[in-house]
Symmetry: D2
Subunit: 186 residues, 4 copies
């Protein structure tokens, strides 16, 4: 297995502390696990990709109830300080849910010889799930690290993961906790 | 609203009657609703797109437990006879889950002036969901017709739909039964 | 070298004999070479892809002077009878100039283990050139077979090829006659 | 006409003064025209996109004779200082020749209501031409500003432009000098 780690949407704008932002509390709880994953992954030379929402104000995606946020070029679209970055990390602005949508991530991963993506971050049932699916479609094996992803509630995260625990694509698509992943790649 | 109807993977190979094929029974139950949708949609001039898995034998997607099926050019990759086709329908072979992945569907829909896609068929938590998400990413509003989609069990379908009943993109992404959709477009 | 042969737009509608169709005469002259290429290529097991314009009547591309032609689903969008097809050939409808644009050709070629595309057909400075460039962008080496391509005049074909005879990408992009290619792969 | 201006690959690494870099002298000659275009375009509110090569060291594109250059994240991949940038400009890193390849430029232009792209920069027969073609394929009208593009020689630029002066897509694809464009949009 030659894995790359994808961290989805751990952005300042998503971690604004506000009673109207349910992602903040849930997202904060996975930070220690993400820190451990990044540290162990970097030791092993796994590429780290921060996939970051990068919207335009006029984007279609804002024509519903979603608040304008993560605007391209603003501080709010940057990775939170709790997650350390190193120069070899790839910062990947993305225009929509998945990290592969209208980006060159597939080509980057093939150029790096990657065969597996480890998908983490928020939100489980949107951007994390879409990144996982897009990766499968691009012929990468996918590992969803369940304790490194969050949604606006634990029920929602669990509800989403439970849909895929047993799936017909296994072992191309697997769900596991961080510890199991680290044991596998040791 | 200028909608197009997308019917996902209602293919012969997915409807082979076998104790090892849980999709067959569940999928059959939505056929009457799909027939009604197609009939009413065609009366109103809505484009109908049959998005059809169209794999190569060597495809990555078959490197897991999934049985080789829906091979490009075979009868098994064709739409089931229970769903009537008319010459104006679009038969769209797709290589992976979603109907937009490496196809020209986005361009076709824009050329036709469509602003909303109505997504139906199987399987809810894979190809149907992915088609819905890809449509959103391509700036189309999405309606998931809950009683026109199936998975390998009703629990799985419901589990998936429940994740999105209340969602932050509303009303860009909506879930409703067939009757409600028909009332809206009358 | 593991090559695939791409034959671009050798379609009935492009070979209608008419004083207003300069492609017909020029295109006919390369048919013997294409026949030889296909015969020799099939002996060696090279995949053959017929990339075929497949337009909608309302397409943007028809908003200029270009006549409506090669409409999806019509006989005019089919490969001419002078070029034999065998069941293993890939018929690839394409929506615009290049064979890779909104198609799954890149994934097909990778799945087949191809590293080089041999590009032929019409028209040199549009669909043939675009297919060659898209192939390069998708990380395939490209061979343009100069005596297997045509434009609406020999001057135009030569003018286009001359731009790339010496190029900075060499040997990723090469121009050669059919005989040289056949000698290389013998 | 609602145009956007695309300036291709006017990057530091391409303007290194060296006897082995024929692009430097030719590229410098178009800078005054580009400055005028940008100034006049900004007055009229036309979006300006700097499309910039942004390669990885291991990229396929470097497996030929082309020197490693314009590496993502380096100064060499930045726009030259002679061209003024303002905060509303779009800096668009691109992985290969064309500005649309694996980028979200098509979606950005549609979101901004653009119907025409004005393509300028270097090199005429590669990245400029490819950007023009990709734009056409994405249903934008294209204007190639002949005195705002360069190649490694004037003959090469002229040879390329001459192929398309009279073309079947007219007026979707047009070639004109800067002055004519400015008169049209006054």
């Amino acid at each position: 297995m030659k894995p790359a780690i994808i961290v989805v949407d751990m952005l300042r704008d998503n971690f604004k502390d506000s009673p109207r932002n349910p992602y903040c509390q849930e997202g904060k709880e996975i930070i220690p696990n993400l820190q451990k994953l990044l540290e162990e992954g970097r030791k092993r030379g796994f590429p780290v990709i921060f996939a970051c929402d990068s919207f335009l104000e006029g984007d279609f995606i804002f024509k519903g109830k979603m608040k304008v946020h993560a605007i391209r070029g603003t501080k709010g679209a940057e990775v939170i300080d709790d997650l350390e970055r190193v120069p070899t990390d790839i910062i990947l602005p993305k225009r929509r849910f998945g990290a592969f949508f209208k980006t060159d991530l597939d080509q980057t991963l093939r150029t790096l010889g990657i065969d597996t993506i480890v998908v983490t971050g928020i939100t489980m049932e949107f951007c994390v799930l879409m990144t996982a699916f897009e990766g499968l479609c691009q012929d990468f094996s996918v590992i969803l690290l369940e304790d490194c992803t969050a949604s606006r509630s634990k029920e929602l995260r669990k509800g989403c993961l439970d849909l895929y625990r047993e799936n017909i694509l296994d072992p191309l698509l697997r769900i596991m906790p961080l510890d199991q992943f680290l044991r596998e790649v040791l």
